[in-house]
Amino acid sequence: MAVTSKKRVWLFSATAAGRRHIYAYLSILPALLVLILFTVYPVLYNLNLAFHKNVLTAPGQHPFVGMRNFTELAKNPGLLRSFQTTAEFTVVTVLFTIGLGILIALLLNEQFFGAKALQVIILIPWAIPVVMAGIIWRWMFAGNVGVVNGLLYSLGFIDKYYSFFGNPVTAKAALVIARVWKDVPLAAILLLATLQVIPPELYDAAKIDGCGAWAAFRFITFPFLRPTLTVLLILQTLIGLITFDLVYVMTGGGPADATTLVAWYTYTEIFTHLNLGRGAALAFIVALITLVLAVFYFMALRSEEMYA
């Protein structure tokens, strides 16, 4: 009892601690309000929706259906394929973004005239909004005005324009190229920032000890890069799960369902089949996967920091 009254006292008192608390709560209040309205409430609403039947073509009837939305999804081969496509897409984009990111960061870290210019140029794909990057690449690969076709034609590799979006493999490749083009700059910039804090004496010492370039990279550069690499791995995996806009502008999920990533699948479930219940159930599953992955990665990052 005494403790509670004491708590009350500090909240409303004119003491320094009381004022500090009031100031602190008022400071974070606007942020919390926005986030509660637009995250906590939506997530709960979504969960409720997922356990009810709600198809827009049959309005007014929303019976509780338990797990049926989920079991229907589990039986759906299209969804399983979209998860598979998403996994493929994510692995490939992660590998390319991080691999190229390291190479570019190493290049930009060299002292030569071009490095400065490249550090400016590399910001351009980063600054261009994803949708517009998608539009540009869609037209680059287009079968009628596509400049990739134009280039291949001019160089004599093809004798008539090829429909890149008509073939599952090249359509996927186009999507990956656009995603990597858009994401590599941030990876390179972050890795470069990390490279620049490595003390150069370490390399001098390694040289004296007779280390080759690869050994220096393996035992000096890489350990320094590891925490940043983990962050990039998290970011890039989550990007794989939420990539929607690129699919929307570039392929529309096709040909057939070759580029139907899970975010796009959810979108079509909601907006073309108008099945809100099933869409919500799917959204819940995607959110859960994201959460599990994030927790897993954060644990990895935590142990990373302990080693550092």
């Binding site: 100031y23 309205l37 609403y45 909004p129 517009m132 083009w181 869409g279």
Partner: protein
């Protein structure tokens, strides 16, 4: 080994070899850089190139890398929305170059909408996140860890997962097809990152300055506004740039929370143009160029703030 090197340097071969190696290394670096630069800005250069051609020229095979008939007509048409002579319809004549394209022509009003929404998001985001981050970084209060973790946790919610509820909330608030709807949603999606970033930024600042101001009798808020904000201005600039660019780029919510040109933003309008097979590529390319110029300029102007702040947050 050492003896050999001495002999070689005595014979003057060492110097020659080293020079050649430096030269080869230079050549290699320049070569790789050139390929990289081509990949990074080639697509942008092509879209700029295309915006100076008419459709009849764009469809030529192989493409004209340097326009044979460079023209500003596309820009004139998109900006003034009055068709220049090249786009005039001449009866009986069939030629490309006068396809109408409503979506591309809506680029300027859409840009206006995008600017209003992004600027408002940026301003609100900076105020809210600086206030919150300062409290998280400097003040000890009950529930601090919990509140901070909650903010970080909200970052993990994939946008598509809350698409339906967002629509319902915005509809119930009577805000469908308004700027305010987009501003609120974008605030919710940018705040977690900017609060995290600013908290980290404040953590790097030594508290001595403020302590002095506090001793002089400033309140926390006065101290934040007068002493701290000027010092963390680069971080605030980066935060603002991040919020602006995120709001400017967002597509998913823009596409289903807006219906008319009262609130449609650039990504919505341009996407409609892009997926339309009958679009005028010339006009649409022009619209894309106009749409990507502001964020590119923004990034180049704030380049130093963005990279130095990122280095601070990641380089430690």
């Amino acid at each position: 080994m050492a003896a050999k090197a001495t002999v070689r340097s005595l014979l003057g071969q060492e110097k020659h070899g080293a020079k050649r190696r430096v030269l080869l290394r230079r050549l290699f670096l320049y070569g790789v850089s050139l390929v990289l630069a081509f990949w990074l800005i080639g697509p942008v250069l092509w879209i700029v190139d295309a915006s100076f051609q008419l459709d009849n020229e764009l469809f030529s095979i192989p493409p004209h890398w340097i326009p044979h008939n460079p023209t500003l007509d596309n820009y004139i048409y998109v900006i003034t929305r009055v068709p220049p002579p090249a786009y005039d319809f001449k009866p009986g004549e069939v030629r490309m170059g006068h396809k109408a394209s409503g979506e591309a022509l809506a680029a300027i009003p859409a840009l206006k909408n995008s600017f209003i929404v992004s600027t408002a998001t940026m301003a609100l985001n900076v105020v809210i996140s600086v206030l919150a981050a300062y409290a998280f970084s400097r003040l000890k209060f009950r529930g601090r860890g919990l509140a901070f973790n909650f903010v970080m946790f909200t970052r993990l919610i994939p946008p598509i997962a809350v698409a339906i509820p967002f629509f319902v909330i915005i509809d119930r608030l009577g805000l469908l097809d308004t700027y305010l709807a987009l501003i609120l949603v974008y605030l919710a999606f940018t705040l977690p990152f900017t609060i995290w970033f600013m908290t980290k930024y404040f953590d790097f600042m030594p508290p001595d300055l403020e302590d002095a101001a506090l001793v002089d009798g400033c309140t926390r808020l006065q101290c934040l506004l007068k002493v701290v904000v000027p010092v963390v201005a680069p971080g605030i600039a980066a935060t603002g740039a991040f919020a602006f660019m995120n709001a400017y780029s967002e597509f998913l919510f823009a596409v289903f929370l807006t219906k008319t040109m009262a609130a449609k933003t650039v990504p919505v309008v341009l996407t409609a143009a892009a997926i339309n097979y009958d679009v005028s590529y010339a006009l649409a390319s022009t619209a894309v160029v106009l749409a990507i110029v502001p964020p590119i300029l923004f990034a180049l102007v704030f380049r130093n703030y963005i990279t130095s702040s990122l280095s601070m947050a990641f380089g430690k």
